[in-house]
């Protein structure tokens, strides 16, 4: 089997707030077109870990990070690394849909382009249409692109946020429990969309829903109390876990 290109390489990453250490020395490699699910009980540090990868963690008061996280061999935390630059290569979709409330559907998708100074009308319009199609939202909104983004349903808003992230064409997309605020039908649509997107992008998804992890991911990482307990092919982690703790969590004994 040919080894796929290494996209993210995290080496002994520690992070926390003040005196509390939440992520305790995580090391993991993520390859091109991997769809990695991060699972584990609440407070296990998986969201904090995810937010370290696009340097959003440090925006919170008292936050600190130690260690290495390399994107294409470039350390995200080396001296002089620009978080703004990094975030345009690593997109993020949040738990709660957050389209900009003062902007239309069209402007929401175009936001990432306009802040980069890309203003050419025909080009932006093409990108918006392409991304909305990729996010499986185009058919539902093509006749009301000028309507406010917040006029859509929760599931549609989340797909709008995915389209907004796709518009900056990042090689990696982080998803922090993207379906936990949605109903089952919207969840199914987003899952379908994620499996479609993984053909082009590397996706790391935090989820509380173990069925979801089993359904869509091809690699699963199990976090417990800030440590990475087990990381491997999803089929193996769920059927023949190496660690006792993983087995207990998956079979529902705690968490």
């Amino acid at each position: 089997m040919v080894q796929k290109e290494l996209v993210l390489s995290i080496k002994d990453l520690h992070a926390g707030f003040g005196s509390a250490e939440i992520v305790k020395g995580i090391s993991m490699d993520i390859h091109r077109q991997d769809l990695v699910a991060l699972i584990g009980p609440s407070g296990c540090g998986k969201s904090t870990f995810l937010r370290c990868l696009n340097r959003l963690h440090e925006e919170t008061e008292g936050a600190w990070v130690r260690g290495k996280a390399e994107l294409f061999q470039q350390d995200l935390y080396e001296r002089g690394a620009d978080p703004v630059e990094i975030r345009s290569k690593i997109g993020m979709v949040f738990q709660k849909p957050n389209p900009f409330p003062s902007m239309s559907i069209y402007d929401n998708v175009a936001a990432g382009l306009t802040i980069r100074g890309i203003k050419k009308r025909s080009y932006v319009a093409d990108v918006v249409e392409y991304c909305l199609k990729q996010a499986a939202l185009w058919e539902e909104v093509k006749d009301k692109l000028k309507a406010p983004g917040t006029s859509l349903s929760g599931g549609q808003q989340q797909r709008l946020c995915i389209a907004r992230t796709l518009a900056i064409n990042p090689p990696v997309i982080l998803m922090d429990e993207p379906t936990s605020a949605l109903d089952p039908i919207s969840t199914a649509k987003i899952e379908e969309l994620i499996t479609e997107l993984r053909k082009q992008v590397t996706i790391i998804i935090v989820t509380h829903n173990m069925q979801q992890a089993a359904r869509i991911s091809d690699k699963t990482a199990f976090f417990l109390l800030g440590e990475l307990i087990e990381y491997g092919a999803t089929s193996e982690v769920f059927t023949t876990p190496r660690e006792k703790k993983t087995e207990s969590y998956i079979t529902g004994r705690f968490g």
Partner: protein, 306 residues
């Protein structure tokens, strides 16, 4: 037995609240009726032309409100134009940009500004602001724009511009405080969304703070405008009190509230007194129109954002 007691106290609570609400409406109506009755003589003799006549001569018996309407509107406009950028900027500093250790003390200082009595602002304006305008602001503006009537005229230091300036300083704490509340109430998820797209600090502010907060900023400005239009003491002290419409911002003028404060004490009964009441009524109406207009603006701005 117990249930009856509960219902009875509910009834008492409900009715006392209703009475209080009615009281507010009654006070408003009584102000309106009082002003209407006491200004009847003016409207009977002069008619609607009172609003477009510029003359105000106590001895000549000629009364018109236009100069005062002009003074009120223009001084408030200057105040809003100067205060809005400063207030929004300070609010952004306090919520988004400034170092956290500075935020509380700066905010306390700004709130302290709101607690200074307006007569104190007036005194300070007479002794500090007016000479400064006279010696430094007007000469510079006049020098930069030769021939522009707006900045010409003899340098008195007292006038529309100085009034607008002191008003701006007085309403800045109000607008800033409301903007701070508005910006703080905007959920963090929008800022994170913007940052995750690769937005810089300024772009994040534009996308995730100013955009969602626009309606709130408008409300803050309108509240400031309301305060500026009604403010009496400080303005009366520095505006120069001359019922005149001049092309220059630096010439003395008068506002609706300043003429009432200046002349009510010595106005003998008759047309003069009635005309001052008519000006009070005009001020009330102008304030209501501005407020109504502002609500329309807010409604139009927020229609898309909800």
């Amino acid at each position: 037995m117990k249930r009856r007691e509960v219902r009875w106290s509910d009834l008492l609570f409900f009715n006392s609240l209703r009475a209080l609400a009615l009281l507010i409406i009654l006070v408003f109506i009584s102000i309106f009726v009082f002003l209407y009755i006491s200004s009847a003589e003016t409207f009977n003799t002069i008619g609607w032309k009172f609003f477009i006549l510029q003359d105000w001569s106590t001895n000549g018996g000629r009364f018109g409100a236009l100069a005062f309407i002009y003074g009120t509107v223009l001084s408030s406009l200057i105040a809003i134009l100067l205060a809005t950028p400063v207030s929004v900027g300070s609010a952004l500093f306090l919520t988004e940009i400034g170092p956290r250790v500075l935020r509380r003390p700066v905010q306390m200082l700004i709130e302290l500004l709101a607690a200074i009595p307006s007569v104190v602002y007036g005194l300070w304006a007479i002794f500090v602001l007016a000479p400064f305008v006279k010696d430094h602001i007007q000469p510079v503006l006049r020098g930069m724009t030769p021939g522009l009537e707006l900045f010409q005229g003899p340098p008195f230091g007292l006038g529309l511009f100085t009034s607008g300036l002191v008003l701006a300083i007085m309403i800045t704490p109000t607008i800033t405080a409301i903007c701070v509340e508005v910006f703080r109430s905007i959920p963090l998820i929008y800022r994170e969304g913007a940052k995750a797209l690769g937005a810089t600090t300024w772009e994040t502010i534009r996308l995730a703070v100013l955009g969602p907060g626009l309606a709130g900023i408008f409300s803050a400005v309108i509240l400031g405008l309301g305060r500026a239009m009604g403010e009496t003491m400080a303005v009366t002290m520095v505006i120069g009190n001359r019922a005149d419409i001049s092309a220059s911002l630096f010439s003395p003028a008068a506002t609706m509230s300043s003429v009432i404060a200046n002349e009510y004490g010595e106005a003998s009964a008759g047309l003069h007194l009635s005309s001052l009441s008519a000006i009070g009524l005009t001020l009330l109406l102008v304030s209501m129109v501005v407020n109504g207009f502002a609500r329309v603006v807010i409604w139009r701005v927020t229609r898309g954002a909800r």
